[in-house]
Subunit: 198 residues, 2 copies
DNA sequence: CCTACCGATCGGTAGG
DNA sequence: CCTACCGATCGGTAGG
């Protein structure tokens, strides 16, 4: 339990930290608490990061790696355009639904925690979301240029709408414990994509 | 500055507390910080509430009163059904957009802060959302029984979809600072309501 | 990776 | 509403 022999201490700390932060937020993640749950000394944990802010940034970086692996790489070989756009949303919902992180989508949680704050942690979260949005918008644009969807569709507006549905599903699942939230979101997203496809 | 002569000390503390919590979350709201910003002693603030949890609950209750006044009562006299449903969403977006709370919609923020936690504060937040959803669903049901919208529309699904768009707009505005987020959400919501109306 | 600290701040109490 | 406290915990440091 204490040591997962294949992992470095750094990795072990980060995985525990990501799980705590997913459920309770980065502010609830303290170095002392991490140390206690890992049966380490506080300064032993601290030494790996150098500051609480660097720990926060490392946790986000780790969560990003997991997101990329679970959501993005798993649909890497899908054909660009409408199909890939749908698969990316599907993959995102699936990752939140099957509990890759215990608190649902890691980024949905920290987004609201840092939206009123300033500094490198806030900036890193914003960059990750902007990059995720851009990735989705590129597929929407490709779908448009491949004549897969109606010409009058604005790629940014389309992604905004589908994005909101996915975020809303995560919210309904996590706060209200609605078990059908992801199913509903998937239906609405697929229906929308079907409606605009040529 | 220190005393707004028309307000009781209790009210003055609560208003300050609601504003801090809106921007930074309830966890960042400490009794010591409140005392400092109000030029009061810590125990002077504390005595009004008896515990941090009671302060949290009082802040949420205050935010609920403001929400009811700003969002719900302002469209009280609109005709029940489709019109009132649209006006409720319009009113919600307007309240978030014009900055009734400095951090956007107060409840969107605390929802994610408490979705992984247990206890009376979490429960109060859930109840407020359930009651707000129910209010919206009732208008959707009325619209259905008045034959204002297509028969095949499920009121709960409709509200889920529009709700997600409103929450998504709040997120895009607060985290990504997208100034057109509310405009987009308003367009999408109105378009959806128009599409399903008879 | 550890023990042993530091000042600051947390929620909360005693007593007025 | 105040001063003066309490133990616990925060992020962080010194030194090994």
């Amino acid at each position: 339990m204490k040591n997962n022999s294949k992992l470095t201490t750094y990795e072990t700390i980060l995985i525990k930290a990501v799980n705590i932060a997913s459920l309770e937020g980065l502010e609830c993640l303290s170095i002392g608490r991490l140390a206690k749950e890992l049966n380490m000394s506080k300064s032993g944990v601290f030494a790996h990061f150098g500051s609480k802010q660097e720990l926060n940034l490392a946790v986000i970086e780790k969560a990003k790696d997991i997101f990329i692996k679970e959501v993005i790489l798993s649909v890497e070989k899908e054909p660009a355009g409408l199909i890939k756009l749908g698969k990316l949303f599907d993959s995102w919902l699936s990752y939140a639904e099957r509990g890759v992180f215990p608190g649902g989508c890691f980024f949905a949680g920290v987004a609201y925690e840092y939206d009123g704050k300033k500094g490198p942690v806030h900036d890193k979260i914003v960059k990750i979301f902007e990059s995720w949005l851009l990735r989705l918008e590129k597929q929407a644009s490709t779908a448009l240029s491949l004549n897969q969807i109606n010409k009058n569709i604005n790629p940014e507006d389309l992604v905004f709408e589908l994005f909101a549905l996915a975020m809303g599903a995560n919210w309904a699942r996590q706060l209200l414990k609605r078990k059908d939230a992801f199913k509903k979101a998937r239906q609405l997203i697929n229906q929308k994509l079907k409606n605009i496809s040529i």
